[in-house]
C-alpha cells in the first residue's frame, strides 16, 4: 500500500490535549480512517502547532482526502513518499 505525507495548516493551532479526551479524539480519527482502508502512522507537529506533517498508508490520495473531510481536517498537500534510512541504505542492484 502506498505511503503518503499529508501537509496540513491549522491557522489557530492544532489542539490535541494530553488528556483522555485527546486520546479519544485520536482514536475517533483512526476509526473513521479504517472505513476507507487508511492508516495513520504518525505526525510531526511544528512548535507553534500551526502545521502538521502526517504519515499515512492508504489506497490512493482520494481516500486520504475523504477521511480528512470526514474528520474535519485540512489538507494542503499530499505527496507520495518512501522511507530512506541513512544507516541502512542499500544501493539498488544492477
Amino acid at each position: 500500500m502506498p505511503r503518503y505525507m499529508v501537509e496540513r495548516t491549522f491557522p489557530t493551532g492544532l489542539s490535541v490535549p494530553g488528556t483522555k479526551d485527546g486520546a479519544e479524539s485520536c482514536l475517533r480519527v483512526v476509526e473513521k480512517n479504517a472505513a476507507e482502508g487508511v492508516t495513520w502512522i504518525h505526525s510531526y507537529v511544528t512548535d507553534d502547532r500551526s502545521k502538521t506533517f502526517c504519515i499515512y498508508d492508504g489506497p490512493n490520495p482520494e481516500a486520504i482526502r475523504r477521511v480528512a473531510s470526514a474528520n474535519g481536517l485540512p489538507v494542503d498537500r499530499i505527496a507520495s513518499v518512501r522511507v530512506l534510512d541513512p544507516y541502512f541504505h542499500v544501493a539498488a542492484e544492477g
Binding site: A35, P61, E62, G72, L73, P74, V75, A79
Partner: protein, 869 residues
C-alpha cells in the same frame, strides 16, 4: 452430539443484536459475517437466531456447492419453508423484478422485524448476488436484518461476491468477523470433553470446527488435519452408517430422507448413529454434514469409481422421483450428479435445460457454465442445433462480460449457419460479431462485420434483422462523430422498423440518428433523441431508456448546456439504479464526473470517478472519462499519482480509437502540461488526439483541444468552425470569453480563460477562482505569471477552499449556507448564483443533511452556534 457452548463470541453477538435493534426501528442493514472455513460463522448465526427467536420472524436460505449452483437457491429454500407467496412468485411468469419485489415484501411483512440469513454466499449464483444488490440498496428503510455468511479465505480479488459487496451502500453494511479461539477457550473445551489440551491450540490454530472434530475423534493424539479428524470419526461407524455418510457426501446439500430410503433403505439405528456422530437432521428429516469441511473430507476419501456409482444412483433415483414430482429434482442438481456420473447422454439433455433455467432467473454466469457443459457433449448434434446452442452461450457470455468466449462462440455459429445456408441467421451473427468487436475496442473489425451483416441480410426478405443491422452501422458511425453515415444507415433502419412496429429497433435507430445530429447541432436532433426516449418508455425497454438518457446527457455536455446535462444525468442515473442497469449507471456516473469537474464540484466529481475506476466491471468507455477526471483533479490539487493515471487513460483511448475518447485523454494531458508551464508539451499532447482533417470535426468536439493548441502557439486565430466562446479567446478577448464560460457554468474553463489575460486584473480574478475550487497547481501557475509581470502584493495563498470545512461542506455548500443565513429564498439564491432553482434545492437539502437539521431556521441557528457565521 451435545451442543458446544459458544465461546468468545460476545462482541459479535452484541453487534448483531444492535443491528437487529436498529432494524426493528425501521433502519435495516446487511450484516456480513465472514471468516475462514470452520471459524464458526454458522454456529454464531444459529446461536443468534435462537436467542432472538421470540421477537423476530426468521427466514433461512443457503447457497450450495454444486458444480454450478442452483439459480436463486437460497430464495427457493426460504420460499419452500416459510413463504407460499414467494414460492408463487418464483414459479410465476413475472420475471426477476416480480421475484425480487416479492422478496423485498417478504422482508417487510408482519409487525415485528425480520431476520433473513443467507449462508455461504461465496458459492452464490449470479442471480442471488443480484438479489443481494437489489435488497442492499433498499434495506435501509426496511424493518429487516439480512445476515450474509461467507468464507473470505477462498475469495480472490476477482470473486463475484467481492464485486457485489463493493456495490452495496457502505452505510447499510455491518461487518462481523469471528476470530479464532484463544488458547484459554481451547483448553476449556478440552477440559469439558475430558481430554488433554496439549498441542490442541497449536495444531488447530483455534479453528472451532477443527477443535470440535479433534476432540470428537479423541483418542488423545490430536489429528494433524481437519480431514484426519473427520475420517477418524467416521471410521468408527457401523457399515450401514458409513454407507449413509458416503451417500450424503456426494449430495452437496441436504440429503432427503426419501432419497436415503430409496437408495439404501437403512435401519433406523444407522440413521441415529450418524446423527450422534455429528451429522445434523433437520425438521423435514433430511440429513446433512454439520460442516462442508466434513462432507468434503468424506467425499474425497471415496475411490473414484465408488464416487461415480453413487452419483449415477442418485441421478437415477432423482430422475425417477422427479418424473412424478418435479419440485424434488432440481435440474441443476441433476446436472451435478450427471457430471459426477460422467453420463454424457444425460448431460446432453439436462445441461441446456439447466442453462435456460439459470438464464431465466438472471443467473447468467451459471447459464454460461451449463451451456459450455452442453457444448462439450454435443459435438455430434445437427449443425443447426449446435449453432442455436452456441448463440445462446454467446449471449450469456456477452451478458457476463466474457467477450472473447462470446466472440469464439459466434464465430463457430457463423460457420455453421453459412454451411447450412441460413443467411438470415448468418447475417444476425455477423451483426453480433460487429457489436462484440466494438466492445473489446477493435473498431476496424466491428466496421467490417457490420458491413458484412448488411450485405448478407439485404439478400433475404427485409425484416427486423436487416433494420437492426442498419442501425448497428449507424451506431458505429455516430460513435465516431460521422453524422452523414449515422443519418444514411439510421434512416434506412427507421424506414423498416417503423412500419413493422419494431419499437426496440426504432428507438435504437432514432437514438443513433438523433445523437449524431445533436453532436453537429443540427435542427431536429434533440427532438429525435427525446422521441427515442419516449418510445422506449412507452414499451418499457429498459436498456433503450438508459441509452437514450446517456446520449441526451453526453450531447448536452458536449455542447456545454450543463444544466440540461445535469438534469438528464440525475434522471438517467436514478432510473438505471432503480432497474439495476449497473453498466449504464457507471457510464453515466463517468459523464457526471466530467460535468462536476467542469463546474468545480470536485469532491463529488471524485466520488463519481472513483465509483467507476474502482469497479472492475466498468467498461473501457466508462473508465476513460473517469480516469481523466481523477487525473485532472489530482494534478490541480497537486496530489501524487496523476502521471500514471494520465498514461493509463491515453492507452485506453488509443485502443478505443474514437475521437470522443481521445479528446477526453488529450485534454487531460494537455492541461496537466500547461499547469506545469510546459507549452511545448501542451501542444504535443493536444496534437496526437487530432485527426489530420480537423476542419471536419464538429465545433464543440474541438473546442477545448483548440484552446490548448492555441495556448501552446500551434494555431492562431481567427479559425473557422470553432464555438463562439473559443473564438473570443483566440481573438484575445479573454474578458468576454471568461464571462461566457461563467454563463455556461464551467468554472475551470473560466479560470483558464482569465489566466490567458496579459494584465493583472484578469490574472488576479483567475487566481481567486483557482483558489476557490482548490486548484493549487492553477494558483501556482497564475502566481508565476503575475510574478513575471512584476506584480506586487500577490497574496501568498491561504487556500481557504482546500481546507476541509468542519462539517464537510463543499465550497458551494458553504456559499449557499451563507446565503441562507442572509435570508435569501431558493429562487433568490438561484438568481444570485446564476443556476437553476432545482440545483439550489439540491444544494440546500445537502446542506441541511450535513448540518443534521430539518429546516432553514435550524440551519441558521446551528451555523451561528458553531461560529460558522
Amino acid at each position: 452430539m451435545p451442543q458446544l457452548e459458544l465461546l468468545e463470541r460476545a462482541s459479535e453477538l452484541a453487534a448483531l443484536t444492535a443491528a437487529l435493534d436498529d432494524a426493528a426501528q425501521g433502519r435495516g442493514a446487511i450484516a456480513l459475517v465472514s471468516g475462514e472455513a470452520g471459524i464458526g460463522k454458522t454456529a454464531l448465526v444459529t446461536h443468534f437466531a435462537r436467542r432472538v427467536a421470540d421477537r423476530v420472524r426468521t427466514l433461512w436460505g443457503a447457497c450450495d456447492p454444486l458444480l454450478t449452483p442452483r439459480p436463486l437457491g437460497p430464495l427457493h429454500d426460504i420460499a419452500r419453508v416459510s413463504s407460499p407467496r414467494l414460492l408463487a412468485a418464483l414459479g410465476g411468469s413475472g420475471g426477476r423484478e416480480a421475484i425480487f419485489t416479492a422478496a423485498l415484501d417478504e422482508l417487510q411483512r408482519g409487525r415485528g422485524a425480520t431476520l433473513c440469513v443467507i449462508e455461504d454466499a461465496h458459492w452464490a449464483d449470479e442471480a442471488t448476488l443480484d438479489l443481494l444488490r437489489f435488497l442492499g440498496r433498499r434495506i435501509a428503510n426496511a424493518p429487516a436484518l439480512i445476515v450474509v455468511t461467507y468464507r473470505d479465505d477462498e475469495m480472490g480479488a476477482t470473486h463475484p461476491l467481492r464485486a457485489a459487496l463493493g456495490q452495496l451502500p457502505g452505510s447499510a453494511l455491518r461487518r462481523v468477523r469471528p476470530a479464532a479461539l484463544s488458547p484459554v477457550a481451547v483448553s476449556r473445551l478440552a477440559r469439558d470433553a475430558g481430554q488433554p489440551a496439549t498441542g490442541l491450540h497449536e495444531i488447530t490454530g483455534g479453528n472451532p470446527f477443527f477443535v470440535t472434530e479433534a476432540l470428537a475423534a479423541g483418542d488423545g493424539d490430536v489429528p494433524p488435519t481437519v480431514r484426519d479428524a473427520v475420517l477418524a470419526r467416521t471410521a468408527r461407524l457401523s457399515l450401514d452408517a458409513q454407507c449413509i455418510t458416503e451417500l450424503a457426501s456426494v449430495v452437496p446439500m441436504r440429503t432427503e430422507g426419501w432419497l436415503i430410503e430409496a437408495l439404501l433403505a437403512p435401519p433406523t439405528a444407522a440413521l441415529d448413529e450418524c446423527v450422534s456422530a455429528g451429522m445434523v437432521r433437520d425438521a423435514e428429516g433430511a440429513l446433512r454434514f454439520r460442516h462442508e469441511l466434513a462432507r468434503r473430507a468424506v467425499e474425497e476419501s471415496l475411490a473414484p469409481e465408488r464416487r461415480r456409482q453413487l452419483h449415477a444412483r442418485c441421478l437415477d433415483t432423482l430422475r425417477r422421483v422427479g418424473a412424478a414430482d418435479p419440485a424434488r429434482a432440481d435440474v441443476a442438481r441433476l446436472v451435478h450428479h450427471a457430471e459426477g456420473a460422467r453420463d454424457t447422454v444425460a448431460l446432453r439433455e439436462l445441461a441446456p435445460l439447466a442453462a435456460e433455467q439459470a438464464a431465466a432467473a438472471g443467473a447468467h454466469r451459471e447459464a454460461v457454465k451449463h451451456f459450455a457443459r452442453a457444448l462439450r457433449h454435443t459435438l455430434a448434434l445437427l449443425p443447426t442445433e449446435r449453432a442455436r446452442l452456441l448463440e445462446r452461450h454467446a449471449y450469456e457470455c456477452y451478458l457476463t462480460d466474457q467477450m472473447p468466449e462470446a466472440i469464439a462462440a459466434r464465430q463457430e455459429a457463423l460457420r455453421l449457419w453459412q454451411t447450412s445456408g441460413n443467411e438470415e441467421r448468418a447475417g444476425e451473427t455477423l451483426r453480433w460479431l460487429s457489436r462484440l468487436h466494438w466492445f473489446i475496442g477493435q473498431r476496424a473489425d466491428a466496421e467490417r462485420y457490420g458491413r458484412e451483416a448488411v450485405d448478407v441480410l439485404e439478400r433475404v426478405p427485409r425484416g427486423s434483422a436487416l433494420a437492426m443491422a442498419y442501425s448497428n452501422v449507424a451506431q458505429l458511425a455516430m460513435l465516431a462523430d460521422d453524422v452523414e453515415g449515422a443519418l444514411l444507415w439510421g434512416n434506412r433502419a427507421i424506414a423498416i422498423a417503423e412500419p413493422l412496429g419494431d419499437a426496440a429497433t426504432l428507438s435504437h435507430a432514432l437514438n443513433n440518428v438523433g445523437t449524431a445530429e445533436c453532436v453537429y447541432e443540427r435542427p431536429g436532433g434533440y427532438e429525435r433523441l427525446e422521441r427515442a426516449l419516449v418510445i422506449a418508455q412507452e414499451h418499457q425497454l429498459h436498456e433503450h431508456i438508459a441509452r437514450a438518457y446517456t446520449n441526451l446527457a453526453s450531447t448536452t455536455i458536449l455542447s456545454r448546456k450543463l444544466e440540461a446535462a445535469r438534469r438528464w444525468l440525475d434522471e438517467g442515473i436514478a432510473f438505471s439504479t432503480e432497474h439495476d442497469l449497473d453498466s449504464w449507471v457507471l457510464y453515466m456516473r463517468a459523464w457526471r464526473a466530467h460535468l462536476r469537474f467542469q463546474t468545480g464540484e470536485w469532491d463529488s466529481a471524485v466520488d463519481d470517478a472513483c465509483a467507476v475506476a474502482d469497479n472492475p466491471r466498468a467498461s473501457v468507455v466508462s473508465r476513460i472519462p473517469a480516469l481523466a477526471v481523477l487525473a485532472r483533479v489530482r494534478r490541480h490539487r497537486e496530489h501524487p499519482g496523476w502521471e500514471a493515471l494520465l498514461d493509463e487513460t491515453r492507452a485506453l483511448a488509443i485502443g478505443a480509437d474514437e475521437l470522443q475518447r481521445r479528446e477526453a485523454a488529450a485534454c487531460a494531458r494537455a492541461e496537466a502540461a500547461w499547469l506545469s508551464g510546459n507549452g511545448e508539451r501542451t501542444g504535443d499532447e493536444s496534437a496526437w488526439a487530432y485527426p489530420p482533417d480537423m476542419e471536419e470535426v464538429t465545433p464543440w468536439r474541438r473546442a477545448e483541444l483548440t484552446l490548448w493548441l492555441w495556448r501552446a502557439g500551434r494555431v492562431a486565430g481567427p479559425l473557422d468552425g470553432v464555438p463562439h466562446v473559443v473564438g473570443l479567446s483566440l481573438a484575445g478577448d479573454w474578458r468576454a470569453a471568461a464571462a461566457e464560460w461563467k454563463n455556461i457554468g464551467s468554472v475551470v474553463d473560466q479560470a483558464h480563460a482569465l489566466a490567458d489575460a496579459d494584465e493583472e486584473d484578469g490574472l488576479r480574478q483567475s487566481l481567486a477562482l483557482f483558489e476557490r475550487i482548490g486548484s493549487l497547481a492553477g494558483a501556482t501557475m497564475v502566481r508565476r505569471k503575475l510574478a513575471s509581470m512584476g506584480a506586487r502584493g500577490v497574496p501568498r495563498g491561504s487556500r481557504p477552499s482546500t481546507r476541509a470545512h468542519p462539517l464537510g461542506l463543499t465550497t458551494r455548500q458553504q456559499q449557499i449556507l451563507g446565503l441562507i443565513c442572509d435570508g435569501l429564498s431558493n429562487a433568490e439564491i438561484a438568481a444570485r448564483l446564476n443556476v437553476s432553482e432545482k440545483t439550489v434545492d439540491h444544494h440546500v437539502s445537502a446542506v441541511l443533511g450535513k448540518l443534521e437539521v430539518r429546516s432553514r431556521a435550524k440551519a441558521v441557528a446551528k451555523a451561528v452556534a458553531l461560529g460558522l457565521r
